[in-house]
């Protein structure tokens, strides 16, 4: 006979505002099998959990139902409490009367009725719960880091410094990411390259870091502690072991007119190239789409001039399988462009700013390249159209960001600060120039940030105009900026030589595809979702996968580095144990009923189904049945739904339990 305890939570007023919790407790208390029922203001608090533990011991409870929020929120909390009171944690279930009831209903009577039914269902269900033993699995103490920007570099170095091997995979031919493109960094104006490149070299020299550049994630299998990751190492056409990085191939390449994407297309590069002089590794790559040899078969100059004979036109993509126990995703960001978007796209371009067709209207990253000492102009601020120095420059903030009508409603967080920095860099380089900034709000929360912003106005003579720009158009060699100054309430028109747009931060292209490979979730903009916005900010809901940097949301360098170190710490926590405990919610095959059709194997997304031979005492084979490897099973239940002979059941979600729930209604 069950002795079930039911605990109804008020959740402050979140539940009790619409649900009469006392009535629910009283009503549920009369159900057969319920030995105890009560309500409490905050069941998850220490006194709340204490109440639960005391009741288990005093009332000799056999099962527990906590009626509160979503199990996603507190199932772990309550199962832990139940366990510490001496019950098996899987004899505790949660009834969700917050998200599924109080939050979505207004009528108190109806909501109370529904809450009683929800709790009643869980009471029937928990009666059928079985004791489940915890499963332990081994942990591969190696980690994969995806993305070699500052986030990936920091995470990789921290994990490797702890003595664990790291596989670092970068899509571009060099690590460094966007930070390598920046000129100087706020709020201290130290040179980005000077603080970045030593870290890049540390990565290259670290004995515990295995670096794959010009490589992408092809395929991911497995689960926390035991992932199998297939990396596609794209054909570089240059043998990394033979190449000395002398650079002769690049100087001799006859094709020199390819826009340099690292320089935001301001300069040109050859077909065999390293993205920038400080690249790590300093091994060139052949851009096969633009290489004359690959296009026409004629040329081959780079191979002829290469002393060590490193150039290899026959090289092919390689697929390498790496076993790892944890994955840090640090794929970073991309910038929104004002160009015309395809029809039906949820994100729109800026026709009123000329859809990106006015040459001297550039974005912030392009300005970074202009201001960078190693950039295409050697650090001089010059107009892309005619190479003249702009004497009137207009910066426009929130281009794409906080622009619901363009399809992006979030704040990109970094633009207020980098625009303030841009006005300073401009003032330092063009002494007789004037910078104007159109802004909505100046958002400067951060150590020394507001002081920095004020300095751009008070000492560096930037004129800040509160208001947005309605239009930009070319007039002769000037760009007319039409905006409003809402502080004064007048229309403003500025004839500018150059306009710099602080365009929105977006996730990297292909972020959604990678997320699907990894099995992690993302929001409507394709930023990756953390497990809990406040309390689990670097973990994914998928166990064993962690987030670092702007792939999770717009972030500046200090925040990115902090998050990367936090993700590394999480990986190290995982690696601190030799065996990993995991939830025993796994599928089990009823061998007597299994006919060996193996439909379950076809549908299993985890590859957990194996073959098992059933023999009689003499050793004669009777039949082959399915066996679910509990270490690999993800507990999704797809096999249970598929099995034609109803011979697979998921522990904790058996048909018996589900039917009992339905019958209670």
């Amino acid at each position: 006979m069950s002795r079930i305890g039911v605990f109804i939570c008020h959740c402050g007023e979140n539940i009790s505002r619409t649900v009469d919790v006392e009535r629910v407790a009283a009503q549920v208390g009369t159900l057969p099998g319920v030995a105890f029922s009560t309500d409490y203001k905050y069941m998850c608090s220490d006194p709340g959990q204490g109440l639960l533990k005391k009741a288990i011991q005093e009332q000799r409870l056999s099962h527990v139902v906590v009626a509160a929020c979503s199990p996603r929120m507190h199932e772990k909390t309550f199962r832990k409490a139940v366990e510490s009171a001496g019950l098996n944690p899987f004899l505790c279930e949660m009834a969700n009367i917050r998200e599924h009831c109080s939050w979505v209903h207004e009528d108190r009577e109806e909501a109370t009725q529904k809450a009683i039914e929800i709790v009643g269902m869980m009471v029937e269900r928990v009666k059928k719960n079985r004791v489940l033993p915890t499963i332990t699995v081994p942990v591969t103490k190696r980690s994969l880091v995806i993305g070699g920007g500052i986030a990936g570099i920091q995470a990789a170095l921290d994990i490797a410094d702890c003595g664990h091997e790291v596989v670092l995979v970068e899509r571009e031919p060099s690590i460094g990411g966007h930070m390598a493109q920046l000129s100087e960094t706020f709020p201290t104006l130290d040179c980005s390259q000077c603080i970045m490149t030593p870290k890049m070299v540390d990565v290259a020299n670290h004995p515990k870091i295995k670096l794959y550049t010009y490589a992408e994630i092809e395929h991911v299998e497995g689960y926390i502690g035991n992932f199998q990751v297939t990396v596609r190492k794209k054909a570089r056409s240059v043998d990394e072991d033979k190449c000395t990085g002398c650079g002769v191939c690049m100087t001799k390449c006859p094709q020199k007119k390819i826009p340099n994407t690292f320089d935001r297309n301001l300069g040109m590069r050859p077909a065999i190239y390293v993205p920038f002089p400080q690249a790590v590794p300093n091994t060139p790559v052949i851009d096969r789409e633009n290489c004359t040899k690959f296009k026409t078969g004629k040329c081959g100059v780079c191979q002829k001039v290469c002393g060590p004979g490193a150039v290899d036109y026959e090289q092919e993509d390689q697929l390498i399988v790496e076993p790892v126990g944890a994955i840090v995703v640090a794929t970073g960001f991309d910038l929104y462009s004002i160009e015309e978007k395809p029809k039906g796209s949820p994100i729109k371009g800026y026709g009123e700013f000329g859809h990106g067709k006015i040459p001297d209207v550039i974005d912030g990253m392009t300005f970074e390249r202009l201001a960078s000492a190693s950039g295409p102009t050697g650090g001089k601020i010059l107009r892309p159209s005619d190479g003249r120095e702009p004497k009137q420059i207009v910066f426009i903030q929130c281009v794409g960001s906080r622009a619901r009508e363009k399809g992006i409603s979030y704040c990109s967080k970094i633009c207020c600060m980098y625009t303030a920095k841009h006005t300073m860099l401009y003032h330092h380089k063009v002494h007789d120039g004037q910078a104007y900034v159109f802004f909505m709000d100046a958002r400067t929360p951060g150590k020394s940030y507001d002081e920095f912003w004020r300095r751009s106005i008070e000492e560096e003579e930037a004129v800040y105009i509160r208001g947005m720009v309605s239009r930009l158009y070319q007039k002769g060699d000037k760009i007319v900026v039409m905006g409003s100054d809402i502080a004064v309430g007048v229309q403003v028109e500025i004839e500018a030589d150059m306009v710099v747009l602080a365009t929105a931060v977006q996730p990297q292209k292909g972020a959604d595809t990678l997320a699907q490979k990894l099995g992690i979730s993302y929001d409507k903009y394709h930023f990756y979702s953390e497990a809990h916005a406040k309390l689990r900010p670097v973990e994914c809901a998928t166990a064993g996968i962690y987030l670092a940097g702007a792939c999770q949301g717009p972030k500046d360098i200090p925040d990115t580095v902090s998050q990367a170190s936090a993700a590394a710490a999480k990986v190290m926590t995982l690696f601190a144990k030799d065996k990993l405990e995991r939830e025993p919610i796994v599928a089990k095959v009823r061998e007597a009923g299994c006919v060996g059709c193996f439909y379950c194997r076809k549908v299993c997304p985890y590859g957990a189904v194996e073959e098992k031979e059933i023999r009689d005492r003499q050793g004669n084979l009777i039949k082959v049945v399915a066996y679910v490897n509990p270490g690999v099973c993800g507990g999704c239940g797809t096999c249970q739904a598929t099995c034609p002979s109803k011979s697979v059941e998921l522990d904790g979600y058996t048909d018996e339990q589900i039917v009992a729930m339905i019958e209670s209604l």
Partner: protein, 295 residues
């Protein structure tokens, strides 16, 4: 060769086309006759409320348009609208009422009839460029407007409000240019295609209109246009009727004819000046048309 479609529309001219913009009405009817597109005027239509109504009373403005939409149901075919303001108001009404049940019920009570929300409201530009199609239009051109440099002027209302499903890209439309290219004309790239002309401030704050319309005329001239083309009677009034006055205030000379789209496309299909109401234009277009040998 694609078979010729039979196109028939209910026609809502709007007040201006029965008054100051009579030439727009005349040229629309003649052009559509020439192109074999049927137009049947909505019986007993009345004012859409234009700009003033929705500034004063939302229910009134929605009800005026709703009643007209209801009247238009009597005539078969989508509703063809010539005036940019009528177009914007009728579309907006449909949009607002389909989004809000509360407002729809209020309006239905006011007009004592259900509001048709699914009927298509189409501007002439849409009919020419998409229903008839640029290819068909090109085939109907007998006298291409070769050598005529036109500044296509959209004004504010053709593509607005932005949240209402509309004619073309809100900020960078091309539909007028597409039509004129099919008619053989040359279109200029200019900066003030989408700027406001001052609209109905023409009576209450003429100074504002003179300033804004001056910027438009200036920009068209600077871009090398011979003339301006519009699809809105109010824009036409400000740019054409007030042009002499603007020239006086700014001590300059434009002599820039301002045509309705139906007049230019009409010319290209071989219609004569009398059928297009060219004599009603204040800035005399004849010298230009003669110079370009288009008459």
């Amino acid at each position: 060769m694609t078979p010729k479609k039979t196109l028939n529309y209910a026609y809502y001219p709007g007040c201006s086309l029965h008054a100051s913009a009579g030439e727009y009405d005349l040229s629309t009817r003649e052009l559509f006759k020439k192109l074999n597109i049927g137009l049947t005027e909505v019986p007993d239509w009345f004012c859409c409320g234009a700009t003033p109504a929705h500034n004063v009373d939302e229910l009134l403005s929605l009800s005026l348009c709703a009643k007209n939409l209801e009247l238009a149901e009597q005539v078969e075919g989508d509703l063809a609208v010539a005036c940019a303001a009528c177009f914007s108001r009728l579309k907006t009404t449909q949009h607002v009422l389909s989004e809000s049940d509360v407002k729809r019920r209020q309006v239905e009570k006011a007009i004592d009839a259900p509001v048709p929300l699914t009927g298509n409201v189409k501007h002439l530009l849409d009919i020419l460029a998409r229903d008839l199609g640029l290819e068909q239009l090109e085939q109907a051109v007998t006298k291409p407007l070769a050598g005529l440099k036109v500044a296509c002027y959209y004004g504010c209302l053709l593509t607005r409000p932005t949240d209402v499903p509309n004619l073309d890209c809100v900020e960078a439309p091309t539909i007028m240019e597409d039509i004129l290219k099919a008619a053989g004309a040359e279109t200029v790239a200019w900066s003030h295609r989408m700027e406001c002309c001052g609209a109905n401030f023409t009576l209450s704050r003429p100074g504002v209109v003179i300033q804004l319309s001056h910027a438009i005329l200036d920009s068209a001239k600077e871009a090398g246009a011979d003339c301006i083309m519009v699809a809105c009677p109010l824009c036409h009034g400000n740019l054409d009727i007030r042009q002499k006055e603007i020239e006086g205030v700014y001590n300059t000379e434009y002599a820039m004819p301002v045509f309705y789209i139906t007049q230019l496309v009409g010319l290209a299909t071989g219609l004569g000046a009398d059928k297009l109401g060219l004599d009603a234009l204040i800035v005399n277009p004849m010298p230009l048309l003669k110079e370009k040998q288009l008459l």
